[in-house]
Protein backbone atom coordinates (compact mmCIF):
# COMPACT_ATOMS: atom_id res chain seq x y z
CA UNK A 1 0.00 0.00 0.00
CA UNK A 2 1.46 3.36 -0.96
CA UNK A 3 0.87 6.33 1.27
CA UNK A 4 2.61 8.81 -1.04
CA UNK A 5 1.50 9.68 -4.56
CA UNK A 6 3.30 7.69 -7.28
CA UNK A 7 6.25 9.54 -8.83
CA UNK A 8 7.74 8.49 -12.15
CA UNK A 9 11.18 6.89 -11.62
CA UNK A 10 14.07 6.25 -13.99
CA UNK A 11 14.05 2.92 -15.81
CA UNK A 12 17.73 2.16 -15.32
CA UNK A 13 18.65 1.94 -11.63
CA UNK A 14 21.79 3.79 -10.43
CA UNK A 15 23.73 0.59 -9.70
CA UNK A 16 23.34 -0.56 -13.30
CA UNK A 17 24.34 2.84 -14.61
CA UNK A 18 27.32 2.74 -12.24
CA UNK A 19 28.49 -0.62 -13.61
CA UNK A 20 28.12 0.63 -17.16
CA UNK A 21 30.08 3.77 -16.32
CA UNK A 22 32.95 1.71 -14.97
CA UNK A 23 33.16 -1.14 -17.43
CA UNK A 24 31.52 -0.35 -20.75
CA UNK A 25 33.07 1.16 -23.86
CA UNK A 26 33.59 4.93 -24.19
CA UNK A 27 30.29 5.84 -25.83
CA UNK A 28 28.23 3.88 -23.34
CA UNK A 29 30.37 5.20 -20.44
CA UNK A 30 29.68 8.79 -21.45
CA UNK A 31 25.98 8.16 -21.75
CA UNK A 32 25.90 6.34 -18.44
CA UNK A 33 27.80 9.14 -16.68
CA UNK A 34 25.51 11.80 -18.15
CA UNK A 35 22.45 9.85 -17.09
CA UNK A 36 23.85 9.32 -13.59
CA UNK A 37 24.47 13.06 -13.22
CA UNK A 38 20.92 13.86 -14.28
CA UNK A 39 19.55 11.06 -12.15
CA UNK A 40 21.45 12.37 -9.15
CA UNK A 41 19.88 15.79 -9.58
CA UNK A 42 16.39 14.29 -9.76
CA UNK A 43 16.99 12.21 -6.64
CA UNK A 44 18.34 15.21 -4.78
CA UNK A 45 15.32 17.28 -5.75
CA UNK A 46 12.93 14.53 -4.70
CA UNK A 47 14.73 14.07 -1.40
CA UNK A 48 14.60 17.80 -0.75
CA UNK A 49 10.97 17.88 -1.66
CA UNK A 50 10.18 14.90 0.56
CA UNK A 51 11.86 16.57 3.52
CA UNK A 52 9.70 19.63 3.19
CA UNK A 53 6.16 18.30 3.29
CA UNK A 54 3.10 20.27 4.30
CA UNK A 55 2.75 23.57 6.09
CA UNK A 56 2.64 27.13 4.90
CA UNK A 57 6.38 27.77 4.73
CA UNK A 58 7.19 24.70 2.67
CA UNK A 59 7.73 25.38 -1.02
CA UNK A 60 8.33 22.04 -2.70
CA UNK A 61 11.15 21.94 -5.22
CA UNK A 62 10.07 20.78 -8.65
CA UNK A 63 11.97 20.19 -11.81
CA UNK A 64 10.90 22.04 -14.95
CA UNK A 65 7.34 20.78 -14.64
CA UNK A 66 5.00 21.76 -17.44
CA UNK A 67 1.67 22.36 -15.73
CA UNK A 68 -1.74 21.43 -17.02
CA UNK A 69 -2.12 17.91 -15.74
CA UNK A 70 -3.87 17.04 -12.49
CA UNK A 71 -2.31 14.26 -10.44
CA UNK A 72 -5.20 12.78 -8.47
CA UNK A 73 -5.45 9.83 -6.14
CA UNK A 74 -8.66 8.95 -4.30
CA UNK A 75 -8.41 6.71 -1.23
CA UNK A 76 -11.15 4.81 0.62
CA UNK A 77 -10.95 5.36 4.38
CA UNK A 78 -13.61 2.66 4.93
CA UNK A 79 -15.29 4.66 7.72
CA UNK A 80 -12.14 4.90 9.81
CA UNK A 81 -11.23 8.23 11.43
CA UNK A 82 -7.56 7.51 10.83
CA UNK A 83 -6.10 10.34 8.79
CA UNK A 84 -3.48 8.20 7.06
CA UNK A 85 -4.53 7.45 3.45
CA UNK A 86 -6.23 4.03 3.23
CA UNK A 87 -6.73 1.85 0.14
CA UNK A 88 -6.18 3.44 -3.25
CA UNK A 89 -9.61 3.53 -4.88
CA UNK A 90 -8.80 5.44 -8.06
CA UNK A 91 -5.51 6.82 -9.33
CA UNK A 92 -5.03 9.46 -12.01
CA UNK A 93 -6.16 8.21 -15.39
CA UNK A 94 -7.85 5.09 -14.05
CA UNK A 95 -11.38 4.35 -15.20
CA UNK A 96 -14.47 5.03 -13.08
CA UNK A 97 -14.98 3.07 -9.89
CA UNK A 98 -18.19 1.31 -8.88
CA UNK A 99 -18.16 3.62 -5.84
CA UNK A 100 -19.97 6.87 -6.62
CA UNK A 101 -18.26 8.77 -3.83
CA UNK A 102 -14.88 7.87 -5.31
CA UNK A 103 -15.91 9.11 -8.75
CA UNK A 104 -17.47 12.29 -7.40
CA UNK A 105 -14.30 13.13 -5.44
CA UNK A 106 -12.16 12.35 -8.50
CA UNK A 107 -14.29 14.63 -10.69
CA UNK A 108 -14.43 17.42 -8.11
CA UNK A 109 -10.65 17.41 -7.66
CA UNK A 110 -10.30 17.51 -11.44
CA UNK A 111 -12.79 20.37 -11.83
CA UNK A 112 -10.90 22.38 -9.20
CA UNK A 113 -7.58 21.73 -10.90
CA UNK A 114 -9.08 22.68 -14.28
CA UNK A 115 -10.45 25.98 -13.00
CA UNK A 116 -7.21 27.05 -11.35
CA UNK A 117 -5.05 26.00 -14.31
CA UNK A 118 -7.18 27.23 -17.23
CA UNK A 119 -8.55 30.42 -15.69
CA UNK A 120 -5.72 31.49 -13.38
CA UNK A 121 -2.68 29.60 -14.74
CA UNK A 122 -2.15 28.13 -11.29
CA UNK A 123 -0.72 24.60 -11.34
CA UNK A 124 -2.61 22.92 -8.50
CA UNK A 125 -2.92 24.13 -4.92
CA UNK A 126 0.69 25.17 -4.42
CA UNK A 127 1.24 26.41 -7.97
CA UNK A 128 3.76 23.63 -8.47
CA UNK A 129 1.63 20.63 -9.33
CA UNK A 130 0.85 19.40 -5.83
CA UNK A 131 -0.80 15.98 -6.11
CA UNK A 132 -4.50 16.13 -5.21
CA UNK A 133 -5.36 13.49 -2.66
CA UNK A 134 -9.00 12.80 -1.78
CA UNK A 135 -9.99 10.51 1.09
CA UNK A 136 -13.62 9.38 0.95
CA UNK A 137 -15.81 7.51 3.45
CA UNK A 138 -14.01 9.23 6.32
CA UNK A 139 -15.68 8.41 9.65
CA UNK A 140 -19.23 7.21 10.22
CA UNK A 141 -22.06 9.46 9.01
CA UNK A 142 -19.63 12.36 9.21
CA UNK A 143 -21.48 15.51 8.13
CA UNK A 144 -18.39 17.39 7.01
CA UNK A 145 -15.48 17.66 4.58
CA UNK A 146 -12.14 19.35 5.18
CA UNK A 147 -8.62 20.06 3.91
CA UNK A 148 -6.07 18.98 6.50
CA UNK A 149 -3.33 21.55 5.72
CA UNK A 150 -1.09 18.60 4.85
CA UNK A 151 -2.17 17.87 1.29
CA UNK A 152 -5.30 15.76 1.85
CA UNK A 153 -9.00 16.46 1.42
CA UNK A 154 -11.29 14.36 3.62
CA UNK A 155 -14.93 13.64 2.70
CA UNK A 156 -17.60 12.42 5.08
CA UNK A 157 -20.64 10.52 3.81
CA UNK A 158 -23.03 12.85 5.62
CA UNK A 159 -25.66 11.85 8.17
CA UNK A 160 -28.50 11.87 5.66
CA UNK A 161 -30.51 14.60 7.31
CA UNK A 162 -28.10 17.52 7.68
CA UNK A 163 -25.79 16.61 4.83
CA UNK A 164 -25.65 13.92 2.16
CA UNK A 165 -22.54 12.62 0.38
CA UNK A 166 -20.12 15.55 0.63
CA UNK A 167 -17.99 14.46 -2.35
CA UNK A 168 -20.88 15.31 -4.68
CA UNK A 169 -20.50 19.05 -4.09
CA UNK A 170 -18.18 20.52 -6.72
CA UNK A 171 -18.27 23.82 -4.82
CA UNK A 172 -17.42 21.91 -1.63
CA UNK A 173 -14.26 20.51 -3.21
CA UNK A 174 -13.41 23.92 -4.64
CA UNK A 175 -13.98 25.51 -1.21
CA UNK A 176 -11.77 23.06 0.66
CA UNK A 177 -8.93 23.04 -1.86
CA UNK A 178 -9.00 26.84 -1.86
CA UNK A 179 -8.14 26.70 1.85
CA UNK A 180 -4.96 25.06 0.59
CA UNK A 181 -4.36 27.87 -1.91
CA UNK A 182 -4.86 30.44 0.85
CA UNK A 183 -2.53 28.46 3.08
CA UNK A 184 0.23 28.77 0.44
CA UNK A 185 -0.43 32.44 -0.26
CA UNK A 186 -1.56 34.89 2.41
CA UNK A 187 -2.35 32.21 5.03
CA UNK A 188 -5.19 34.31 6.49
CA UNK A 189 -5.51 33.55 10.19
CA UNK A 190 -8.63 31.48 10.85
CA UNK A 191 -10.41 33.73 13.34
CA UNK A 192 -11.92 37.20 13.41
CA UNK A 193 -12.11 39.19 10.17
CA UNK A 194 -9.07 37.46 8.63
CA UNK A 195 -10.84 34.15 9.28
CA UNK A 196 -14.06 35.42 7.71
CA UNK A 197 -11.98 36.48 4.70
CA UNK A 198 -10.36 33.04 4.60
CA UNK A 199 -13.81 31.45 4.56
CA UNK A 200 -15.12 33.92 1.99
CA UNK A 201 -12.19 33.33 -0.36
CA UNK A 202 -13.01 29.62 -0.24
CA UNK A 203 -16.67 30.30 -1.11
CA UNK A 204 -15.70 32.81 -3.83
CA UNK A 205 -13.47 30.31 -5.62
CA UNK A 206 -15.61 27.31 -4.70
CA UNK A 207 -18.62 28.79 -6.48
CA UNK A 208 -16.49 29.69 -9.51
CA UNK A 209 -15.17 26.13 -9.74
CA UNK A 210 -18.80 24.98 -9.91
CA UNK A 211 -19.80 27.74 -12.36
CA UNK A 212 -16.84 26.90 -14.57
CA UNK A 213 -17.61 23.18 -14.59
CA UNK A 214 -21.27 23.80 -15.40
CA UNK A 215 -20.56 26.62 -17.86
CA UNK A 216 -22.69 29.08 -15.87
CA UNK A 217 -22.32 32.82 -16.21
CA UNK A 218 -23.22 35.22 -13.38
CA UNK A 219 -26.93 35.21 -14.31
CA UNK A 220 -27.18 31.43 -14.61
CA UNK A 221 -25.49 30.58 -11.30
CA UNK A 222 -27.69 30.38 -8.19
CA UNK A 223 -24.76 31.63 -6.04
CA UNK A 224 -25.65 29.02 -3.42
CA UNK A 225 -22.99 27.14 -1.49
CA UNK A 226 -23.64 23.49 -0.64
CA UNK A 227 -26.89 23.14 -2.60
CA UNK A 228 -25.82 19.71 -3.88
CA UNK A 229 -25.03 18.21 -0.50
CA UNK A 230 -27.65 19.50 1.95
CA UNK A 231 -30.15 17.16 3.50
CA UNK A 232 -33.77 18.07 4.25
CA UNK A 233 -32.81 19.91 7.44
CA UNK A 234 -30.75 22.55 5.64
CA UNK A 235 -32.38 22.80 2.21
CA UNK A 236 -32.02 24.56 -0.12
CA UNK A 237 -28.38 25.43 0.68
CA UNK A 238 -25.80 26.19 3.38
CA UNK A 239 -25.04 29.76 2.31
CA UNK A 240 -26.22 32.30 -0.22
CA UNK A 241 -23.63 34.68 -1.66
CA UNK A 242 -26.38 36.77 -3.25
CA UNK A 243 -28.51 37.05 -0.11
CA UNK A 244 -26.56 36.10 3.02
CA UNK A 245 -28.84 34.95 5.83
CA UNK A 246 -31.54 33.44 3.63
CA UNK A 247 -30.14 30.06 2.64
CA UNK A 248 -31.87 27.93 5.31
CA UNK A 249 -33.67 28.33 8.67
CA UNK A 250 -30.38 28.29 10.62
CA UNK A 251 -28.54 30.78 8.39
CA UNK A 252 -27.49 33.86 10.41
CA UNK A 253 -25.03 35.41 7.98
CA UNK A 254 -24.98 39.22 7.86
CA UNK A 255 -25.08 40.94 4.47
CA UNK A 256 -23.36 44.17 5.52
CA UNK A 257 -21.17 45.70 8.23
CA UNK A 258 -24.18 47.12 10.12
CA UNK A 259 -24.97 43.52 11.00
CA UNK A 260 -21.40 42.31 11.54
CA UNK A 261 -21.32 39.80 14.40
CA UNK A 262 -18.50 40.65 16.84
CA UNK A 263 -16.71 37.45 17.83
CA UNK A 264 -18.84 35.59 15.30
CA UNK A 265 -17.84 32.28 13.76
CA UNK A 266 -15.71 32.69 10.62
CA UNK A 267 -18.53 31.11 8.56
CA UNK A 268 -20.97 33.79 9.71
CA UNK A 269 -19.21 37.07 8.91
CA UNK A 270 -17.93 35.63 5.61
CA UNK A 271 -21.37 36.63 4.29
CA UNK A 272 -20.16 40.23 4.00
CA UNK A 273 -17.19 39.74 1.63
CA UNK A 274 -19.22 37.02 -0.16
CA UNK A 275 -21.95 39.51 -0.97
CA UNK A 276 -19.32 42.06 -2.05
CA UNK A 277 -17.92 39.60 -4.59
CA UNK A 278 -21.42 38.75 -5.80
CA UNK A 279 -22.18 42.45 -6.39
CA UNK A 280 -18.92 43.01 -8.28
CA UNK A 281 -19.40 39.93 -10.49
CA UNK A 282 -23.06 40.53 -11.30
CA UNK A 283 -22.51 44.25 -11.91
CA UNK A 284 -19.94 43.38 -14.56
CA UNK A 285 -21.85 40.46 -16.10
CA UNK A 286 -20.39 37.63 -18.18
CA UNK A 287 -18.44 35.01 -16.25
CA UNK A 288 -17.49 35.69 -12.65
CA UNK A 289 -13.84 34.95 -13.42
CA UNK A 290 -13.59 37.40 -16.36
CA UNK A 291 -12.71 40.26 -14.04
CA UNK A 292 -14.03 39.81 -10.49
CA UNK A 293 -12.33 36.44 -10.02
CA UNK A 294 -9.10 37.76 -11.50
CA UNK A 295 -9.08 40.78 -9.15
CA UNK A 296 -9.83 38.62 -6.12
CA UNK A 297 -7.11 36.12 -7.05
CA UNK A 298 -4.50 38.84 -7.53
CA UNK A 299 -5.46 40.14 -4.09
CA UNK A 300 -5.16 36.69 -2.48
CA UNK A 301 -1.68 36.29 -4.01
CA UNK A 302 -0.56 39.83 -3.15
CA UNK A 303 2.32 39.73 -0.67
CA UNK A 304 0.91 42.88 0.93
CA UNK A 305 -2.13 40.88 2.13
CA UNK A 306 -1.02 39.97 5.63
CA UNK A 307 -2.33 36.91 7.46
CA UNK A 308 -3.98 39.26 9.96
CA UNK A 309 -5.75 41.37 7.31
CA UNK A 310 -9.27 42.65 7.97
CA UNK A 311 -12.05 43.50 5.51
CA UNK A 312 -10.77 47.04 4.88
CA UNK A 313 -7.23 45.95 4.02
CA UNK A 314 -8.58 43.26 1.68
CA UNK A 315 -10.99 45.70 0.03
CA UNK A 316 -8.21 48.26 -0.52
CA UNK A 317 -6.12 45.64 -2.29
CA UNK A 318 -9.00 44.68 -4.58
CA UNK A 319 -9.27 48.39 -5.50
CA UNK A 320 -5.54 48.52 -6.16
CA UNK A 321 -5.67 45.47 -8.45
CA UNK A 322 -8.79 46.62 -10.28
CA UNK A 323 -7.10 49.94 -10.96
CA UNK A 324 -3.80 48.35 -11.95
CA UNK A 325 -5.34 45.78 -14.28
CA UNK A 326 -8.22 47.74 -15.78
CA UNK A 327 -7.39 51.41 -15.29
CA UNK A 328 -8.54 54.33 -13.19
CA UNK A 329 -11.69 55.06 -15.16
CA UNK A 330 -12.69 51.46 -15.77
CA UNK A 331 -16.09 49.90 -15.13
CA UNK A 332 -14.25 47.14 -13.31
CA UNK A 333 -12.89 49.59 -10.73
CA UNK A 334 -16.37 51.13 -10.40
CA UNK A 335 -17.88 47.70 -9.84
CA UNK A 336 -15.37 46.87 -7.10
CA UNK A 337 -16.15 50.12 -5.31
CA UNK A 338 -19.86 49.39 -5.68
CA UNK A 339 -19.36 45.94 -4.16
CA UNK A 340 -17.72 47.23 -1.00
CA UNK A 341 -20.20 50.13 -0.78
CA UNK A 342 -23.06 47.66 -0.91
CA UNK A 343 -21.77 45.81 2.17
CA UNK A 344 -20.70 49.05 3.89
CA UNK A 345 -17.03 48.17 4.24
CA UNK A 346 -15.13 51.45 4.51
CA UNK A 347 -12.18 51.67 2.15
Amino acid sequence: MTTRPRIRNCILPPNLLDRLARTADDEVRTTALDTLALDHRFRLARAESASRTGGFEARPVTFARVGGLANRTVYDQQHSTDQTPGTVARAEGQQASADEAVNAAYDGLGATYEYYWTVLSRDSIDGQGLPLLGLVHFGVSYANAFWDNAGHMFFGDGDGRILTQTAKGIDVVGHELTHGVTQHESNLTYSGQSGALNESVSDVFGIQVKQYALKQDVTQSDWLIGADIVGAALAPALRSMAAPGTANPHDTQPADMDHYVPGGDVHVNSGIPNRAFYVVATTLGGNAWDAAGRIWYDTVCDGALRSSAGFTQFARLTIKHAQRTYGAGSRELDAVRAGWDDVKVRI
Partner: protein, 93 residues
Protein backbone atom coordinates in the same frame (compact mmCIF):
# COMPACT_ATOMS: atom_id res chain seq x y z
CA UNK B 1 -27.34 13.09 33.43
CA UNK B 2 -28.83 15.41 30.82
CA UNK B 3 -26.59 16.75 28.10
CA UNK B 4 -27.12 19.74 25.83
CA UNK B 5 -24.82 20.03 22.85
CA UNK B 6 -24.23 22.82 20.34
CA UNK B 7 -22.01 22.10 17.34
CA UNK B 8 -20.64 24.95 15.21
CA UNK B 9 -18.13 25.28 12.43
CA UNK B 10 -17.58 22.52 9.91
CA UNK B 11 -18.17 23.18 6.24
CA UNK B 12 -21.79 23.70 7.29
CA UNK B 13 -20.74 26.70 9.32
CA UNK B 14 -23.99 26.73 11.30
CA UNK B 15 -24.67 26.18 14.98
CA UNK B 16 -26.91 23.14 15.42
CA UNK B 17 -28.22 21.89 18.75
CA UNK B 18 -29.41 18.70 20.35
CA UNK B 19 -29.88 17.04 23.68
CA UNK B 20 -29.67 13.59 25.16
CA UNK B 21 -30.25 11.96 28.55
CA UNK B 22 -27.70 9.27 29.41
CA UNK B 23 -30.44 7.41 31.30
CA UNK B 24 -32.09 6.73 27.95
CA UNK B 25 -29.02 4.94 26.59
CA UNK B 26 -28.53 1.17 26.83
CA UNK B 27 -25.76 -0.29 28.98
CA UNK B 28 -22.81 -0.53 28.79
CA UNK B 29 -22.92 2.60 26.57
CA UNK B 30 -24.63 4.70 29.22
CA UNK B 31 -21.85 4.11 31.75
CA UNK B 32 -19.05 4.70 29.23
CA UNK B 33 -20.68 7.90 28.03
CA UNK B 34 -21.24 9.17 31.59
CA UNK B 35 -17.58 8.57 32.37
CA UNK B 36 -16.46 10.35 29.24
CA UNK B 37 -18.69 13.31 30.09
CA UNK B 38 -17.33 13.58 33.62
CA UNK B 39 -13.79 13.70 32.21
CA UNK B 40 -14.36 16.65 29.84
CA UNK B 41 -12.18 19.78 30.26
CA UNK B 42 -14.91 21.98 31.80
CA UNK B 43 -14.30 25.72 32.03
CA UNK B 44 -11.10 25.42 29.97
CA UNK B 45 -10.60 27.01 26.53
CA UNK B 46 -10.83 24.63 23.56
CA UNK B 47 -7.78 23.41 21.70
CA UNK B 48 -7.21 25.44 18.51
CA UNK B 49 -8.70 23.88 15.35
CA UNK B 50 -6.26 21.59 13.51
CA UNK B 51 -7.58 22.62 10.08
CA UNK B 52 -10.22 24.90 8.55
CA UNK B 53 -13.85 23.70 8.73
CA UNK B 54 -13.27 21.72 11.90
CA UNK B 55 -16.29 21.27 14.22
CA UNK B 56 -16.50 22.96 17.62
CA UNK B 57 -18.64 21.31 20.31
CA UNK B 58 -20.14 23.02 23.36
CA UNK B 59 -21.21 20.27 25.72
CA UNK B 60 -23.28 21.21 28.77
CA UNK B 61 -23.81 18.56 31.42
CA UNK B 62 -26.78 19.04 33.74
CA UNK B 63 -26.92 16.94 36.88
CA UNK B 64 -27.53 17.42 40.61
CA UNK B 65 -24.24 19.34 40.65
CA UNK B 66 -25.66 22.01 38.36
CA UNK B 67 -24.68 23.00 34.80
CA UNK B 68 -21.13 22.74 33.52
CA UNK B 69 -19.98 23.48 29.96
CA UNK B 70 -16.95 22.19 28.09
CA UNK B 71 -15.95 23.70 24.72
CA UNK B 72 -14.04 21.27 22.51
CA UNK B 73 -12.49 21.12 19.08
CA UNK B 74 -13.70 17.96 17.33
CA UNK B 75 -10.27 16.38 17.78
CA UNK B 76 -10.78 16.54 21.57
CA UNK B 77 -14.11 14.72 21.70
CA UNK B 78 -13.72 11.22 23.23
CA UNK B 79 -14.54 8.53 20.63
CA UNK B 80 -17.26 6.93 22.79
CA UNK B 81 -19.01 10.29 23.13
CA UNK B 82 -18.82 11.42 19.52
CA UNK B 83 -21.61 9.31 17.98
CA UNK B 84 -23.95 10.17 20.88
CA UNK B 85 -23.44 13.90 20.40
CA UNK B 86 -23.76 13.73 16.61
CA UNK B 87 -26.93 11.62 16.80
CA UNK B 88 -28.45 14.18 19.22
CA UNK B 89 -27.68 16.98 16.76
CA UNK B 90 -29.15 15.08 13.81
CA UNK B 91 -32.27 14.34 15.83
CA UNK B 92 -32.58 17.99 16.81
CA UNK B 93 -32.12 19.35 13.28
Amino acid sequence: MRVEVARSGGFIGLTLRGEVDTAALPEPTATRVAEALRGLPFERPPAPPQHPDSFRYEVTVIDHGGRRTAVLDEAQVPPELRPILDAAITAGS
